[in-house]
Symmetry: D2
Subunit: 294 residues, 4 copies
């Protein structure tokens, strides 16, 4: 369903606007204004044009754009319908299956935010976990309205970049993807550790932990696919669990009974969704080390 940039450059204005109507939620006027600036040399240029339209729009237009967005994790709005884009975004971060405590926390936050500012709290949820959204709420609530309008527009542009990235094929790419990777080195035998089971879990203060990847290291001690890739790596706390006991037992390495090390957890946080975070493990049956690599 990807649209080629060249097609967008040469189609009718109506088709262009139809294609990009929801890049900015319920706000086809952004696409309309951008249509006049065609052709675009790349998706970067297209995105820059659209955000410029938004940035230069008068305050009341910006406020309308902000107000066109749904609340986060609002069951009533969900029942009456979100744009498919909003719905998919909210589902991606698990907002459709919150624990009761989490729902309550989101509801409190939404209400407090709307009461203070008169418009919905907006954040680019694909860059976040449930916990980091709630922390973001808390940090932004003390801001003044002007700062929050600016911030909301910035988040809307991040949402737009991700929607555009999913919709339009171009030779250049928007810098919206991050990567989380790992690498297991067996420093007992001096070789990459192949066949190690790995589980990646997103941790949560209020809700249940959520397994987001299960995989096995290949012959190079890496995973064939990044643990998270082709999208932002959501800000949040994670645990990587490496089954090293099974690995060393399988290689006949002498160990204590029970083995000193069996399943090794590495707990860390992601702070840069568009960055490349490499979390390797150097391991023997009696020691291990990790570090933020690159």
């Amino acid at each position: 369903m990807l649209k080629k940039l060249s097609d967008l450059n040469h189609c009718s204005k109506d088709d262009f606007v139809a294609a990009l109507a929801n890049i900015f939620e319920h706000s086809p006027w952004v696409a309309e204004a951008a249509a006049a600036l065609r052709p675009f040399a790349g998706i970067g240029a297209l995105f820059a044009a659209m955000t410029t339209v938004v940035d230069r729009a008068p305050d009341e237009m910006q406020l309308a754009l902000i107000s066109a967005h749904p609340d986060l994790a609002n069951k009533t709005q969900r029942a009456t319908g979100l744009t498919p884009e909003s719905s998919a975004e909210q589902d991606s971060v698990g907002l459709d299956r919150l624990s009761d405590a989490e729902y309550a926390a989101f509801e409190r936050a939404n209400r407090a935010y709307r009461a203070k500012f008169g418009f919905p709290y907006i954040v680019c949820v694909r860059r976040h976990t449930r916990d980091s959204i709630l922390r973001d709420f808390e940090r932004r609530l003390p801001n003044d309205a002007k700062a929050e309008m600016r911030r909301s527009i910035a988040e809307i542009c991040r949402i737009a970049a991700l929607r555009l990235d999913q919709l339009v094929a171009s030779e250049d790419r928007l810098p919206v993807h991050g990567r989380l990777s790992t690498h297991v080195l067996d420093t007992h035998s001096g070789r990459p550790a192949a066949g190690i089971s790995i589980e990646l879990t997103e941790l949560s203060d209020l809700g249940q932990p959520r397994v987001v990847a299960r995989t096995i290291t290949n012959s190079d001690g890496r995973t064939d696919q990044p643990l998270i890739g082709g999208r932002p790596v959501p800000i949040g706390r994670y645990e990587l669990l490496f089954s090293v006991g099974d690995y060393f037992a399988g290689h006949g390495v002498p160990m204590a009974d029970p083995p000193f090390l069996d399943k090794i957890p590495l707990r860390f946080s992601v702070s840069e969704p568009e960055g490349h975070l490499h979390v390797p493990l150097l391991v023997t049956p009696w020691s291990y080390a990790t570090y933020r690599g690159s």
Copy 2:
């Protein structure tokens, strides 16, 4: 309430037997036979004398000794009364507050063991956690009766050694104590990490994890007391949790937001209850390492 060895060497035979009657559960005959061998040069010699009495006793006496022991985690026996020694031992490993699943597992194991061998399953519980007892059950059940009698006597002697260690003061010590220690080195600043909160938790497959120590590192990056000391370190799985995020934040070290590392878990198993297990942490805001030290 400790008794001096010299007093035991010189008191009446009746007083000697009364003092040591329950070193071997409900079996004062062991103390009686040992009384004739006084005086003892040390607690080691006293223990050796008592275990020799047991080892040389005829099979029916050994069987009686074994049968004098209660089942583990048996609620009915608890209600009717254990020796204070047995009760304290079982409580120490948490057998008085098992989860339902754990109770059921212990009951199944006890029943299967008694059905096969005709005598109760005996293990020196102070050297174990709930999980390691259940694993020991499983490993011993396939044995034949002769092997299990030998093994039961060996466990009874371990129990006796710990009881003796708690009862008798002597210049020499029985080698029944182990030690679990840690040390936090801040390799970001090249100094011991003082003021780090540490929590030690005993992990369990069937029941809840149980916090067994909470402490804070001193100016040398160590803990004033060993995490576990003055007793065997129970065989089992543990997690040490180090609050390094607070530590580095308190020292004004620049970190990511949220910090890459906050609470670091080290998960490991203990296999030698009488050994010294040292589990240090070398840490920066971006890396850490651990190893089985000494």
Copy 3:
């Protein structure tokens, strides 16, 4: 001066033989026999054909091939002339600028070898350092003549593979190149260490150490080019020297005076000339770690 495989496939037999006459030292008969097997699908097929010619040659031809090789580090033969290939190979490992002690050792070894076997000692010098050649001498001298003929032929084929690789351009490549690389991670700041001066030295028991690479880490903490690449990594002992004191001082990191760590040496040996050896450094001003990576 590279020759295209397709040209070699289609040129006259004389041109083919002329081009490949010295792939096997002074032995154009190998190329002659191989010419009849044209065309070759790739350089791998060409090499396989030539080595098969050699393997199937009668003993006296193999002996002639062996005897066509010069002694290593022989000043007289150097004066009277080597093939350009032999000369370049010997120079590459520094055999043209040995210390007196090294010359003496090579001369002793050559003489002993020739005295025992009646033919010159042959080794693929591009896969070696001076030290590893002398150790190879010592190991092979106790062999019997038959084993040494086989071994000499094997070394001659390795020499041929490298000569062919330098002479013939093909889409496929012979697996004759190794790689030595490094990577410096600053675990004090959680980022790649850029701008670190690195020196790679080949160590020697008898002669002087020889600097073989000087470079600086790039923004990814790596070197733009491998420390050794595009050729075998000679078997031998090496030292990597990292100027971390200057690096941390340049970043204003508080250090002791003098700094605890200044120039960090990593000393290691290469054993697989065609492999990829990765020797990273994880470093703070107070700690470092290295490992054989991949």
Copy 4:
């Protein structure tokens, strides 16, 4: 030949002065003034009394004290005679066996210093290596005379503390001793590495490296004696060399040929002569780590 503090407290004034005449070089007047303040509760009190005498002495007395000291590494003065204390101190740092380049450097420094200030350069050589003395020279030369007088007196007091420590036995100790220690952990096998040969070398910019300790790790992976102890650890650059190749070969651990790691050098600097510097090695055949421990 140690004198008991109690004897010094109760002997005649003449004997007291005779015993402590050279604690401050050729300056018995310090002991004379201190004699009147007897008895001293400990060596710390005695030292405090003597340094107070010096600190309160008029400038011309302090200058005389400074001028009573010999030049460092001055051959002529050596020939005509130093106090035994000065001679032993200068020998301890190797000033009696300097390379020609070092002699020249010391002579230049002495001459420049004396020309500027009119008194000899004084430093507590037992806290230094040849290199660190030359660096200290360079740093102090730009000072003004007043600052250098203060600094010289401070160095003289450090010299006095070490002389007093060697001469007087007391229950308390002056804090003049440092310690350099190591510990080798075999993280391949999860145990202390026993039987590892260790060599400690003092490095020098101008002269030859000097081996200052050779030892072997004991069953705890430590050395029976500290590498340097019972004296200050001289400020300077050092290399520890660990023979891990022999160790792993002796334990039958599979390794590459030649082994990836054989003799591991750790190069570091000492900056606090009275501190405890611990430089451990965590090692497998394929990896190692070190850090400034405590």
